[in-house]
């Protein structure tokens, strides 16, 4: 299997000198999902954004499909990478069907084809096109909006998907539904996915591999089983902290 996304010694520092990424080296195999975990400020989102060059790495190289992203044409690169973010990602002046087909619109795909593709994708993410294609974001619930956002990321059939806390703003029940839906969809589509979250359950459910980032450094890069059993201090701390909330909830229910 070849790596669809590869980070080679990638560092990123803010102009004021604060270092957000510290020599990150990592490969994401084609057709697999890698979940990046870490506390707020650990550099997860920054790492993700170096892939579509929303952030330019200060040093090191990011490769997508074997090509250095700095050598790639920016517009082409970005159209070939699906991008999903938490909330606010949908354009308030666009209907779901237009928003989903926006990349195709930018590519000057004929309208009929565009709409056909939009409706197909809305159906794929569990939204009946009859009912939802003409709705604006404010006419959709949070979960429905995230589904539209996901459909949009898939519109141009990009080999790579970047997801930045895609379900972070959702209530636990909706989040669980969305995670199941995404899991099914990813198994079917075989995309290469880099997903950022701080939700350990999400990482275990969706990830073929889990990366733990701490202060811009990769402290673990493991399969889910191995991640849970890791003796690495940072990993154990993260797992313990995450489960503490769950235990307390379980105790309160009793």
């Amino acid at each position: 299997m070849s790596a669809a996304i590869e980070f080679r010694e990638v560092s990123f520092a803010l102009p004021q000198g604060r270092r957000l990424l510290e020599r990150v080296s990592l490969a994401v195999d084609e057709g697999t999902t890698t979940v990046v975990l870490g506390r707020s400020g650990s550099g997860k989102t920054t790492l993700l954004r170096t892939v579509n060059r929303m952030v330019e790495a200060t040093s090191g190289t990011v490769l997508v499909g074997g090509t250095d992203v700095r050598q790639a044409d920016l517009v082409r690169l970005r159209r070939g990478i699906g991008y999903v973010i938490q909330e606010t990602g949908l354009f308030p002046h666009m209907t779901a069907e237009r928003d989903v087909g926006l990349v195709l619109e930018a590519e000057k795909t004929p309208k009929a084809n565009r709409l056909r593709r939009s409706h197909e994708l809305l159906a794929a993410v569990g939204l009946d096109p009859e009912q939802f294609s003409r709705r604006y974001p404010h006419q959709l619930s949070g979960g429905q909006r995230q589904r539209v956002g996901l459909a949009r990321a898939l519109a141009a059939d990009p080999p790579v998907l970047l997801m930045d806390e895609p379900f972070g703003a959702l209530d636990p029940l909706t989040r669980a539904e969305m995670q199941d839906m995404l899991g099914r969809l990813l198994r079917q589509l075989r995309k290469t996915v880099l997903l950022v979250t701080h939700d350990l359950d999400e990482a275990l459910l969706l990830g073929d591999r889990i990366v733990l980032l701490d202060q811009g450094r990769v402290v673990a890069h493991l399969e889910p089983e191995a991640f849970l059993q890791s003796r690495e201090t940072a990993v154990m701390e993260y797992v313990r902290a995450f489960h503490r909330g769950e235990r307390r909830a379980a105790e309160e229910q009793r």
Binding site: R76, R78, T88, G89, F91, P92, L102, V103, Y136, H138
Partner: protein
């Protein structure tokens, strides 16, 4: 009363058209200048303060003085309508400029960032995202400017540019309230009509509240 109307009705009609022409031409100029300028300022924010400041100063010049200043200028002064249109354009610049700038500046930066991440080119981001999201703001500026211009255009009669102000000035000179009203009422109605029509247009382009999820 009916005698008055039959005597002046035709003239009121012509002067109303003249009034509309002065205002409309000025608004076209103001839009053509201030909308691109407002957009440009969002790309060069350092210039925003000084440029909007200049437009602000233009706005504070008393209108009668403005017409007077422009009258002696070479090409401009040859035709009173030219003077009127330039002066009205100057007054219309500020609201249009300010609203265009504020409308685009006010767009949620995360939306622009998404537009970039989706691979939209600069022109596509502008026409598909920025302009539609700022449209109702820009139209609100046009509306304010147009209503202001309809009012100020009555002063244009002072330099002989015509318009409904002519009846008002004549009424003042001959102490004839009927003549003053014959100019003032259509001018007021015109302002209301323009305000209503542009208000509808503005509402048409308004973006439904993003947060008001059902």
């Amino acid at each position: 009363m009916s005698g008055f109307l039959s005597r002046y009705g035709g003239e009121i009609g012509i002067l109303t058209l003249e009034h509309l022409w002065l205002t409309g031409a000025a608004m076209l100029w103001a839009t053509a200048i201030a909308v691109p300028a407002g957009v440009w300022l969002t790309r060069r924010p350092r210039w925003a303060k000084p440029v909007i400041g200049v437009a602000n100063v233009l706005q504070t010049i008393p209108s009668l003085a403005m017409f007077g200043f422009l009258l002696p200028l070479p090409w401009l002064g040859e035709r009173a309508a030219r003077v009127a249109i330039v002066a009205l354009t100057a007054y219309a610049l500020l609201p249009v400029l300010r609203n265009t700038y504020a409308g685009i500046e006010g767009i949620d930066p995360s939306l622009l960032s998404v537009a970039r991440a989706l691979g939209l080119t600069g022109a596509q981001r502008f026409f598909k995202v920025e302009l539609p999201l700022a449209a109702s703001f820009i139209l609100a500026g046009l509306r304010t400017a147009t209503v202001t211009c309809v009012g100020i255009a009555t002063i244009a009669a002072a330099v002989g540019a015509g318009g409904l102000g002519e009846l008002i000035f004549r009424g003042v000179a001959s102490i004839d309230n009927r003549l003053i009203l014959a100019g003032a009422i259509p001018a007021a109605l015109l302002a209301l009509a323009v305000d209503g029509a542009l208000g509808l247009l503005e509402r048409w382009f308004r973006i439904p509240a993003a947060k008001a999820a059902p």
